[in-house]
């Protein structure tokens, strides 16, 4: 079920009531949370719960085998079983059609007429998130970063925990599993703050992403014709705001709902559109994925420890695979490749120029942040466009002030410009701050006014249970 639905409202109220009920054992509460999480997932497509069970069973068994294995070879074999099983499930559901399609194109290119069979497979929602999360458990044990948990209940809950099950943040076992061991200590105001965070997340998703920005992005990317540069830019800016508010909104609801239950989940976004440079951007955008890729792909590949040439290769490989993680399409590979190139160029420049006094001035920081935002926007075109040709046409129009159709009415032009400006301003102001600190300094009545107004805007926007963009990944 999606967070922005009546079903989730009733579901969460019942879960919360049971979780905070007096006189119920901690174990019973955990069992209830596990069952609720299975129900949460089954509400999309019941048979796919079996995938959660398979992932849970495999990594539970494999991590124990890795831990007790005495030889390096045995440890490595069991680790490969986990990676193979998880990537196998992911590959079958997510990349099967893509691989067949490209194999057919390759065969055709060498003169072999071969027709790929129809690949009509439904993509289980959130599969990229929970396969990475469970794989991290076995990898942590293999890399001797952690020991296996002793409780199957706690591990099952870690795999299935509903607040972050389908779109992250991708939680590390060392961060979440220990929290299941004992009831959380009471913290005054935690429930109310958690609910306030959920309201903020709903506001980002329903009001800003779906209400203010999505119509403009959909109109531009679905135009099907050459666009005037102004509309190409407006559509891209709209999507940059939409995808941030959609995904950060989901993460905020996930963090808030977990907090209501007494659990802590780390930040997934830290005002990324105020990033100065691309390594800064990736410290602020989808933090749980970028750190996952760093710890389980970039570092094991050798990171920056095997010389400059290999560092650039590792960086590019990591970002290309990171792009492919988002979806089975060459557009995502291009998106990852662009980010990999940005990171490589930035690293190259930093190594040669080094830190300068000018680069630290306020003016230079703002200019660099704007360049970063500009280049990030170019990548969003490839991320959002369904076909490469559409993306290329838009980028060309954006960079060459191309002529073409105008598709956005004045209302959407005004809403996009106003909203994107507000997002950039908010990110700029919050760049070095934490939401918690800002909320603590504000008068209580102002916080109440903001929470009430956000909730009001969510309800009167009448969102239509639109799925979050990242569900498809």
């Amino acid at each position: 079920m999606v967070f922005n639905s009546l079903t989730f409202g009733v579901f969460f109220a019942l879960v919360l009531a049971f979780h905070h009920a007096p006189g119920v054992s901690w174990r019973a509460k955990k069992v209830a949370l596990l069952l609720a999480s299975y129900l949460f997932y089954a509400a999309w497509n019941p048979p796919f719960v079996a995938l959660l069970w398979i992932s849970t069973f495999i990594d539970w068994r494999v991590a124990k085998r890795i831990h007790v294995a005495e030889s390096h070879g045995a440890r490595r074999t069991w680790m490969l079983v986990s990676v193979g099983a998880n990537l196998g499930i992911l590959g079958y559901f997510k990349y099967g059609g893509f691989l067949l399609e490209n194999w057919q194109a390759l065969m055709s290119a060498v003169g072999v007429a071969w027709q790929a069979p129809a690949w009509d497979i439904v993509l289980p929602v959130g599969i990229s998130f929970y396969t990475f999360q469970t794989m991290a458990y076995s990898l942590d044990v293999y890399l001797r970063r952690a020991e296996p948990t002793k409780s199957l209940l706690d591990f099952s809950l870690f795999v299935t925990f509903f607040p972050q099950l389908v779109a992250g943040p991708i939680v590390r076992p060392v961060d979440l599993v220990p929290q299941f061991a004992a009831p959380p200590a009471p913290v005054p105001g935690r429930l109310a703050w958690g609910l306030s965070l959920m309201t903020l997340g709903m506001f980002q998703k329903v009001t800003v992403a779906d209400g203010l920005l999505a119509p403009a992005a959909d109109a531009v990317f679905g135009a099907g014709q050459a666009l005037h540069w102004s509309d190409a830019w407006l559509g891209t800016l709209a999507f940059s705001g939409q995808i941030f508010c959609d995904f950060a909104g989901y993460s905020t609801i996930a963090i808030g709902s977990a907090l209501c239950l007494g659990f802590s989940i780390g930040d997934n976004f830290r005002y990324p559109y105020a990033a100065v440079g691309f390594s800064d951007f990736w410290r602020r955008w989808h933090v749980s994925l970028s750190t996952w890729l760093r710890d389980y792909l970039y570092v094991p590949l050798g990171g920056n420890r095997k010389g400059p040439g290999r560092t650039y290769v590792n960086l590019m490989l990591t970002m290309l695979l990171g792009g492919l993680w988002h979806g089975a399409s060459w557009n995502f590979v291009v998106w990852g490749g662009l980010h990999g190139s940005y990171l490589a160029v930035e690293r190259f420049v930093r190594e040669r120029v080094g830190p300068t006094r000018f680069a630290q001035t306020w003016l230079a920081q703002v200019a660099l942040a704007m360049v970063t935002y500009f280049l990030v926007n170019l990548t969003w075109v490839f991320f959002r466009a369904r076909e490469f040709g559409t993306a290329w046409g838009m980028v060309r129009s954006m960079l060459t002030f191309g002529d073409g159709a105008r598709v956005l009415p004045t209302a959407d032009v005004a809403l996009v410009i106003g909203t994107v400006f507000a997002i950039l301003l908010a990110h700029g102001l919050m760049r070095e701050r934490r939401l918690e600190d800002v909320a603590a300094r504000a008068p209580w009545w102002l916080n109440a006014l903001v929470v009430g107004a956000m909730l009001f805007s969510v309800v009167i926007s009448q969102g239509s249970s639109n799925a979050f963009i990242y569900f498809q990944f």
């Binding site: 079920m1 009546l6 079903t7 999309w44 890399l143 001797r144 970063r145 020991e147 296996p148 948990t149 706690d154 060392v174 961060d175 599993v177 220990p178 929290q179 004992a182 913290v187 005054p188 105001g189 935690r190 429930l191 109310a192 703050w193 306030s196 009001t207 119509p215 802590s264 780390g266 390594s279 990736w282 970028s290 750190t291 760093r294 710890d295 960086l315 970002m319 990171l343 105008r406 956005l408 009415p409 004045t410 209302a411 959407d412 005004a414 809403l415 918690e436 603590a440 209580w444 916080n447 109440a448 006014l449 903001v450 929470v451 009430g452 107004a453 909730l455 009167i460 009448q462 249970s465």
Partner: protein
Amino acid sequence: MPSSTSSSDPKGLGSPQQHSPLRDVPAGPWPRIAWAGVLVFALLLGGWEAYWRSQWFRPSYRNSDGLWALTHERIASEGGRGTLIVSSSRLLFDVHLEAWSEETGQLPIQLGLEGTSPRPFFSHVARETGFAGLVVVGVTPPLFFPPPGGERMSALALTKQWSPADRWSQHLSMRLVEPFFAFYDPDTALFTVLRRQAWPARAGLPPQMPRVRKLSTTRITRQNDMWARVELDPAYQKIARDTWLAFVNAPRPEVPPEVLKKGFEALLAEVGENVRRIRARGGEVVFVRAPSSGPFLAAENGGFPREHTWEPLLQATDAVGIHFEDHADLRDVELPEWSHIRAADTDRFTRALVRHLREALAAKGTPREELGR
């Protein structure tokens, strides 16, 4: 991507001492803030609800895809028998379901969808369900004869995949929200209201089709009655008429005659095959051309002459067709915005329509028990 490496110290995963740092709760009276926030929300929402009630809105069911899908489920739950209506908005608004039920003893399954070609839905009923009763197909020429499409094609997807969560949300909405709140209407959604304000025109942008405003209220049976404001508020009625005028006067792409001919032949083949399939399992199909007037009627008769569209359709399908122009009692209705019958006339129109269908089918030698008597 951050370039630091993670800790290599092994950590156990089972002991409470190894919790990751808890998120802090900002200082402040958060329970008080939450309750005050709820109060602010309630006050704002109360004002919003009062405003929309002052604008003629009353609580009613949403004409949603979910309600359509629940109505569609009656095909299976009622054993594929009875009467089923596939149509665009004309028969959705014009057929009074209770009157039909009184005349025939059966409540029709109303699957009409506004602004949408009924043909894909007719194909679905013929090819993907076992329906073997009476299918009433509404023919609104500008929606029926061109290539199929429309505003509400999304409903059809729910016949293939409707998640349990969406189904539960539909039931919750129909029990907890829709019967009580007037503001919960697609026409009063915040951004719909914002976007339909009189924004200055943008240079270089081709003329935009106006969005069709609220025209009806929906009951749980999917009975749609013309909204009182369309009938009684002259200013709002003018908005509705101006919207139709914009559609009627919109430039149409020039289509070569041979393409039109080929398309029409394909349409007849498709519809004919659907009729054949339904008859093969004991069902029957009738076509109904519901009333229109004013510029709408002129445009429909001009763009889709009866002798080149309606008559060949009936001939190709060997089906009964009721055209409102052939019957004085079907013409004797008021259409405040030229396209749909006012609420007060639908009862009389429906009873007359049932009578004509009954007589026509009997005359053809294929009387149907679904029409009673």
